[in-house]
């Protein structure tokens, strides 16, 4: 006779579930006639970190870029299905894309500060949205730089070029720039892949702070990073027609200790991909 002890030891560490912030329903993305993503259904929970993993070319970045309609900027790109942000379908033509991108910010793989001062980099977004009072801007810049854990390192050189600081600092400057417009969701596409280990850890620590206030979605090739930082993990693969699919979604603890799908198992153990 078998006796079940606790449901699973891994459930103990599982995160408490929060409401859905972003809901992807039957999403397909096409580049011209090529279908890059197919039948994607995914729930991104509020104030949690969701990692998207999978082999190169499986559509992780395409999926991430759908969340704030960055794909619109790619000629010939077309999306079908629905992406709900707080219940509102942001793929409808009537939706104001500028407002979506204000609510859903993005941080890229390589730090890409503008060739402007540190201050102006952070103040760029707020100015675009019509904030011009010096005192207001100063407040936003300080708050954003503090939130991105960069303030202490740059407070005395806000007028220096954003390109004059280290790569790790530049990436945190880009995070501050994203935070300055008060987004709700932050998309991160391999945010630490161009950084050294110490800067990488700083970004990862920062993410844990940021998730108290923001919903974060991160694309990463680094399995350990996904395992360390995220609460949920989505595993993607391409199908026979080379379209990206979501093959497994679960609590990160489950994905990295006992995934259900053989392909996830092979990928996270480094035997495939």
């Amino acid at each position: 006779m078998k006796m079940e002890v606790a449901d699973s030891v891994f459930q103990i560490a599982m995160v408490g579930e929060t409401p859905a912030k972003v809901e992807v329903k039957n999403l397909a993305v096409y580049y011209g006639r090529f279908r890059a993503l197919n039948e994607i259904d995914l729930t991104v929970h509020e104030k949690r970190i969701t990692a998207i993993i999978g082999p190169s070319g499986c559509g992780k970045s395409t999926l991430l870029r759908s969340f704030n309609r960055m794909n619109d900027l790619t000629p010939g790109c077309r999306m079908e299905g629905e992406i709900h942000l707080d219940g509102e379908n942001i793929l409808l033509p009537s939706v104001d894309v500028v407002s979506v991108r204000q609510r859903v910010g993005m941080v890229f793989q390589r730090p890409n500060p503008f060739p402007k001062s540190i201050f102006d980099n952070v103040a760029y977004g707020p100015r675009l949205y019509g904030i011009h009072h010096k005192a207001d801007l100063e407040g936003i810049v300080e708050t954003s730089l503090k939130a991105s854990a960069l303030w202490n390192e740059v407070k005395d050189k806000l007028n220096q070029s954003g390109l004059s600081i280290s790569g790790g600092q530049q990436q945190r400057l880009c995070i501050a720039r994203a935070l300055a417009v008060e987004p709700e969701v932050i998309l991160m596409d391999e945010p630490a892949s161009a950084l050294d280990p110490i800067s990488t850890l700083k970004i990862e620590e920062l993410m844990q702070d940021l998730k108290k206030k923001y919903t974060i979605v991160i694309v990463t090739h680094n399995m350990q990073q996904a395992a360390r930082v995220s609460d949920y993990t989505a595993m993607m693969m391409i199908d026979d027609a080379r379209a990206g699919h979501l093959i497994e979604f679960d609590a990160t603890n489950t994905i990295f200790t006992r995934p259900k799908d053989k392909r996830t198992e092979d990928y996270v153990t480094g035997r495939f991909g």
Binding site: V5, T269, G270
Partner: protein, 220 residues
């Protein structure tokens, strides 16, 4: 892909099997020494325990090196965690064999209270269970891992038999209490060996399936 890692895993499994066979020899040898009242043999069993402990620590260290350098995930991680656990179980079984050797040494000139029949049988079944459990572990044979713990009932039955027989001696002649107690301690150690085999079977199922289940061989 991951050839180095696969080799490291295979080496760990081999080392674990080696540790297992050392413990099997210890258990069979310690009961044999008791049966023959061979004190020298029992001393050798006690010395062998140092090698068993050293091998267990070597496996533990190697597992940690593999975890640190290969960052295993999913099945690989479960397997390595289980190897740690199973080596610990094997080391404890070695301690039971050592305990039996100590009994033989401490008994000194006193003769055995009764000829040993059920006790060697317990050792035989226990080591047989252990051997099959380790084979199932390395091949991740879940079916066998589920089946082995039922054999624990045979060992428990033998233990109860030994217990009642010894109690009869004590009731008839209270002066036999110390000699009865020596043998009861021996039987108890062998009964614990079989219990720990069940733990190895649980780890086999966990490694293969990710499910942590307690196998209880007794039907209530």
């Amino acid at each position: 892909m991951r050839k180095t890692f696969e080799t490291e895993i295979q080496q760990l499994k081999d080392e674990m099997l080696l540790l297992g066979s050392m413990v099997e020899q210890q258990i069979i040898g310690t009961v044999e020494a008791l049966k023959k009242r061979d004190i020298e043999a029992s001393r050798r069993i006690r010395e062998m325990d140092l090698q068993v402990n050293a091998k267990r620590y070597a496996i533990e260290e190697q597992v940690m090196i593999v975890i640190a350098t290969q960052q295993p995930m999913a099945h690989d991680l479960r397997l390595l965690a289980s190897i740690l656990e199973v080596s610990g179980e094997l080391e404890r079984m070695g301690d039971y064999a050592k305990g039996i050797a100590t009994v033989n040494i401490r008994m000194g000139d006193q003769p055995l209270l009764k000829p040993l029949i059920d006790i060697p049988r317990m050792a035989q079944i226990g080591t047989d269970m252990l051997h099959r459990a380790l084979t199932a572990f390395v091949s991740e044979d879940v079916e066998t891992a589920h089946a082995i713990p039922a054999q624990d009932d045979e060992v428990d039955d033998l233990y109860n038999q030994v217990y009642h027989e010894l109690m009869m001696f004590v009731i008839q002649d209270p002066k036999t209490i110390e000699r009865a107690n020596w043998l009861l301690w021996v039987a108890h150690n062998l009964e614990r060996v079989a219990d720990r085999v069940t733990n190895i079977c649980e780890r086999t199922i966990f490694t293969a399936t990710g499910e942590m289940k307690e196998i209880d061989s007794k039907v209530d």
